[in-house]
Structure formats: structure tokens, C-alpha cells
């Protein structure tokens, strides 16, 4: 059997079959991706490329396939957000402060992926410490969205913080990428690049070895071109881990198996508070269309209320910076990473190292986090925000008494121009208005490409599920995918330069 299609256009499921049938070798698949990455540097999707490792892992995979010992992701070339510690491969968190840092250990999620046979292509660009919604806070410069508006040549952001991962998947530089999602950092860039992004339930994947941003919200997840591929990836990533006490010992189902089982009997809630004033009408129109698609496939639609939704972003911007200010206290210029030169006093060494090593948005969040945790303000801000968070989580549990999952838009707008929102932090934060509630409540959320804006840019819909019910979320996502027939891909303008 010979491969008839472009190896870069394969889904993971198709590549798996082609490798098994020996229609393509893992080495050929890796080489095709290494070449594609080579020809797409203008997108700045990767901070570190690992072509040699990719080719040698692929050779190992081929040997295993020959022996009949292929594992779940044998020979599948993927990209990893540069927030995961990878043994022997530079890890930056897109920050100057980790200058020269080469981990001597491997994160649990990436170890699970290598144990399943996946092949590392490189480490992808992101907002510094995952703090951002456009990939523009990266010390290594922004990643560029492979999509452009119709008849326009302006560079657009891919969203963030997992912007490089989204770019890599959308531009066919990797079959899948791994991201992390603290307030929308997988789902928002997925929506803005026409890809599928899944934030699993808090605790589904181990956080061990992931550079920490806000530990009670951070969760790793897959970014792929199909819902089925997201299902395949999640199964390989998820595990209970003694090194992360918040990882949960719950069975990891075969998500792929349940994908096509249909929606009959499922009740899907439409939260009325997700209609926001000033959002483009095309967002709401797509949402309505999505609801009709689910109804046509047998789901029952129910209007539900999540009354505290409007406070979610403000609660997030107290809780997340508070946790970040604590997590980022470890960067001191002593044990690893950047160290300010010519300091002759220890306190000065700390202060200069941190001032020079952290970018502007990170410094701002450390400051606001330190402020809301400081004596005299803790109750007014931090404690209040954590109580509001309880109310937001309760909203969801109450909604789930009458439905099995929720359908919402993924983002309030399509991809925007570089620099369009950098001057006003709050306008940037509003990008996460539909995704952030899910992190505050620890629930699974999936963004699925569902249509194009009037300018020809991808738009996504979000499915939110009950804790640890990724299976239902993926099944509904698959139903949207089936109805939307989203077969659009960006025009590869970067190849023509």
C-alpha cells in the first residue's frame, strides 16, 4: 500500500494506520515535518527545534513497527509547548529568566507521550510563563498565525498562551501539539487557528515537570486537527502521578471508542449569560447554528443560567496572579537560569535578576499578586475572589443538575492583528471571557473549529463538561465537527516568501 496523500495532511488516526500498513515510515513522516518546520521559520512557532532527535526517535519507531511492537502513538511527530521540562532539551517558558536552562528531568505528561512512542519535533513558542492571550509576551518574539484575513496581508496573532502550539498544528508543522490551559490558553488559540483544543478536568493530567503559573488552574491538554486525534492524545497523556498529589486516580477511558455513539438522550445546556454585549453578531450566529446541529443529531437543548459568569475574569485576575507571585518566587538567579551581572549584595542580586529576567506582563502579574496577598488586602481581594470562585463552581454544579454538558462560543472575536491589544491589559484579558470560568471550576472544556468569520478567519465553539466526563465533551465535539464540515486550512503564504 502506498501513501497517496501529503503526509503533512494526515490526521494522527490516519498516520497510525499508514504506519501500521507500512505505507509510510516513521522516518519519512518525521522528515516531512522537519522540512515543513524548516520552511516555516517566519511563523516563529518553535523556540527550540529538535530535528536530530526527531529522526533518531523515528528510526526507533520504525524498528518497533517492524518487530510488531508499535505503541499507541508510535512514530507520531508532535510539538511540545516550551513550558514542559524535557530532559536534555532547553526549556525556556519563553522567558529570559530561564536563560540556558536544560532540565535534568522529564515532565510526567511528556514522559507518558514518549512511552507511547511519540516523536518530539521541538518546543513551541508561548506567552512568557503562559501569561498572555496572543503569544506577544514571549521573550522570543510573537508566533504568527498561519491564517490571514481574506485579501489582507497583515500578520495576526495565533492567540495564547499556547500560540506556538496552535500555529504548529494549523500550519501542518506537527500532527499534534501539547499546550497548557490556565484561563483559556489551549482553547482560545485553538479557536483562533481553526484547530481542536482540549483542556481536561483539573487533575486528569499530572502537572509535574510543567513550569508552574497558577497551580490551582493549570492543566495540560492536546491541540490537534480533529476531535478524534484529541481523544487519542488525551488517553496517552493522562495518568495519576505520585509526583502530583492533585492528579486524580480515576480510570482513563478509551475516548476514541465512544466518539461516534451519538447524542440521543443527551441534554445540552445553553448558558444565557454567555451572550455578551458588543460581541460580533457572527459569534452569536455560529453559536445558534451549533445548537441546531446538536439538536438535529438528537440532543435536547436546555437554557441554563450561570449567574456569576460576569465576575469570573476579575476573580481569575486576583487568583492567578496571587498564585503566580508565589510560584515565580523561585527564580532568584542562584540555582538556575538568568543571573544579573555585577551585583555585590544578595538582595540586589535577587532584585536585579528578577527585574531584568521577567518581562513586563510577568512583572505586572507578580506585583498585582503580591499586592492582593499582602497584609491588609488579603481579605478584600484574595479571599473575596476565592469565595466568588466557589459561587462560579456552584453555578456549574447547579446547571449540571438539568443538563449533561454546555455549549458556548469559544472566543469573543476571531484572531486580531499583532499589537492591537497590547496597550490595554484588560482588553487583552477579555479574550478569555468564555474560557476562564471552566478553569475556575476545574472542568473539562473543548474548543472545536465550527466556521469562518466574515473576514474568512476561523471561529470555534466550546463544549464544557462535568468533571472527568471528557468522553461526553469529545462526543459532542465530534458531533459539531461532523456537522460543521470544517475543512478550511490556511493558505501557506509563508512557503512563498
Amino acid at each position: 500500500m502506498a501513501l497517496t496523500s501529503d503526509p503533512l495532511e494526515l490526521t494522527i488516526a490516519e498516520a497510525r494506520d499508514a504506519l501500521k500498513a507500512k505505507a509510510i515510515s516513521a522516518r519519512e513522516l518525521a522528515e516531512a515535518h522537519v522540512r515543513a518546520i524548516d520552511g516555516a521559520r517566519v511563523l516563529n512557532a518553535f523556540i527550540t527545534e529538535t530535528p536530530d532527535r526527531a529522526l533518531s526517535s523515528a528510526a526507533d519507531s520504525d524498528a518497533r513497527i517492524m518487530r510488531g511492537e508499535a505503541r499507541a502513538l508510535e512514530g507520531i511527530p508532535i510539538a511540545i509547548k516550551d513550558l514542559f521540562c524535557t530532559k536534555g532539551v532547553r526549556t525556556t517558558a519563553a522567558s529570559r529568566i530561564l536563560d540556558g536552562f536544560v532540565p535534568t528531568y522529564e515532565s510526567t505528561v511528556t514522559q507518558n507521550l514518549w512511552n507511547a512512542g511519540a516523536v518530539l519535533l521541538g518546543k513551541t513558542n508561548l506567552d512568557e510563563f503562559a501569561m498572555g492571550s496572543s503569544n506577544e509576551t514571549s521573550y522570543f518574539g510573537p508566533a504568527i498565525n498561519p491564517w490571514r484575513a481574506r485579501r489582507k496581508n497583515d500578520d495576526l496573532v495565533p492567540g495564547g498562551s499556547s500560540g506556538g502550539s496552535a500555529t504548529a498544528v494549523a500550519a501542518r508543522l506537527a500532527l499534534a501539539a501539547i499546550g497548557t490551559d490556565t484561563g483559556g490558553s489551549i482553547r482560545q488559540p485553538a479557536a483562533m487557528t481553526g484547530t481542536v483544543g482540549l483542556k481536561p478536568t483539573y487533575g486528569r493530567c499530572s502537572r509535574w515537570g510543567i513550569v508552574a503559573y497558577a497551580s490551582s488552574l493549570d492543566q495540560a491538554g492536546p491541540m490537534t486537527r480533529t476531535v478524534k486525534d484529541a481523544a487519542i492524545m488525551l488517553r496517552a497523556m493522562a495518568s495519576v502521578d505520585p509526583k502530583d498529589s492533585t492528579s486524580v486516580d480515576a480510570p482513563v477511558p478509551d475516548y476514541e471508542k465512544e466518539l461516534e455513539s451519538g447524542l440521543s438522550g443527551l441534554r445540552v445546556g445553553i448558558p444565557k449569560e454567555y451572550r455578551v454585549e458588543g460581541a460580533p453578531p457572527e459569534i452569536e450566529a455560529l453559536w445558534e447554528k451549533g445548537a441546531e446541529w446538536l439538536k438535529a443529531q438528537g440532543a435536547q437543548l436546555i437554557e441554563v443560567s450561570l449567574p456569576h459568569t460576569k465576575y469570573a475574569l476579575a476573580a481569575y485576575y486576583v487568583v492567578a496572579p496571587a498564585e503566580a507571585s508565589s510560584n515565580l518566587a523561585r527564580y532568584d538567579g542562584v540555582r538556575y537560569g538568568y543571573r544579573a551581572p555585577e551585583t555585590d549584595e544578595l538582595l540586589e542580586l535577587y532584585e536585579k535578576t528578577r527585574a531584568e529576567g521577567f518581562g513586563r506582563e510577568v512583572r505586572r502579574r507578580i506585583m498585582i499578586g503580591t499586592y492582593v496577598l499582602s497584609a491588609g488586602y488579603y481579605d478584600a481581594y484574595y479571599l473575596q475572589a476565592q469565595k466568588v470562585r466557589t459561587l462560579i463552581a456552584r453555578d456549574f454544579s447547579q446547571a449540571f443538575e438539568s443538563c449533561d454538558a454546555l455549549l458556548t462560543p469559544a472566543t469573543p472575536c476571531p484572531a486580531f492583528a499583532l499589537g492591537a491589544k497590547t496597550a490595554d491589559p484588560v482588553s487583552m484579558y477579555l479574550n478569555d471571557v468564555f474560557t476562564v470560568t471552566v478553569n475556575l471550576a476545574g472542568l473539562p472544556g473543548l474548543s472545536v473549529p465550527a466556521g469562518l468569520s466574515t473576514e474568512g478567519l476561523p471561529l470555534g465553539l466550546q463544549v464544557i463538561g462535568k468533571a472527568f466526563d471528557e468522553a461526553t465533551v469529545l462526543k459532542i465535539g465530534r458531533a459539531i465537527e461532523r456537522a460543521a464540515h470544517f475543512s478550511h486550512a490556511p493558505q501557506p503564504w509563508w512557503k512563498m516568501r
Partner: protein, 95 residues
């Protein structure tokens, strides 16, 4: 509530971030804009509502109190900006 420049400098000290005069003024405005925005949380009635401590209903796991890791000082020192033998080197702290 809003912060003045002295508060900004105090917070920067707590956060171990060097801040010059110009940066302190700019940071004051940025922080005040954010504080004014999160102020909306005060209008939520939270009477009797406990603060969130864990999003997943799970009992904290216990394990035996024994050493399960360690014994690789070379690895730990590998990324140090400045070290000597197995020590991190910092500016002199005690005269």
C-alpha cells in the same frame, strides 16, 4: 482602593523586583487600572460562602514519610549560574 507610589515600591520590595523611579510611576498607573477593574468583585454577596480550596472533590493523598528521591547533586548543580564543588555561589552575605 488605589495604590500610591510608596505602596508600589513596598510591593516591589516584597516581590524582590528592582524598580526605578520612572518604572514605579508607570507601575502605579497599571496597578490602579487593574485594581479598579477587579473592584467589581466587592458587589458579589458572599455571605456564608466558603473560599475555594480545591476544585476537585478529593481527599489529600497521604504517603509514608520516607525518602523516595535524591542522591544526584551533580544534576542539581548542573544549571547553576555560578557554583563551586556542590555549592551555589552568591555574593558575600556575612561580613
Amino acid at each position: 482602593m488605589s495604590v500610591d507610589e510608596d505602596t508600589v515600591k513596598r510591593i516591589a520590595k516584597l516581590a524582590r523586583l528592582a524598580l526605578d523611579e520612572g518604572q514605579a510611576a508607570a507601575m502605579k498607573d497599571e496597578l490602579n487600572a487593574l485594581i479598579a477593574w477587579v473592584e467589581q468583585l466587592q458587589e458579589v454577596n458572599v455571605e456564608g460562602i466558603p473560599p475555594m480550596t480545591s476544585v476537585v472533590a478529593q481527599r489529600l493523598k497521604m504517603r509514608d514519610d520516607e525518602v523516595t528521591d535524591g542522591g544526584y547533586p551533580d544534576d542539581l548543580m548542573k544549571n547553576a549560574p555560578l557554583s563551586e564543588k556542590h555549592f551555589f555561589v552568591v555574593p558575600k552575605v556575612v561580613e
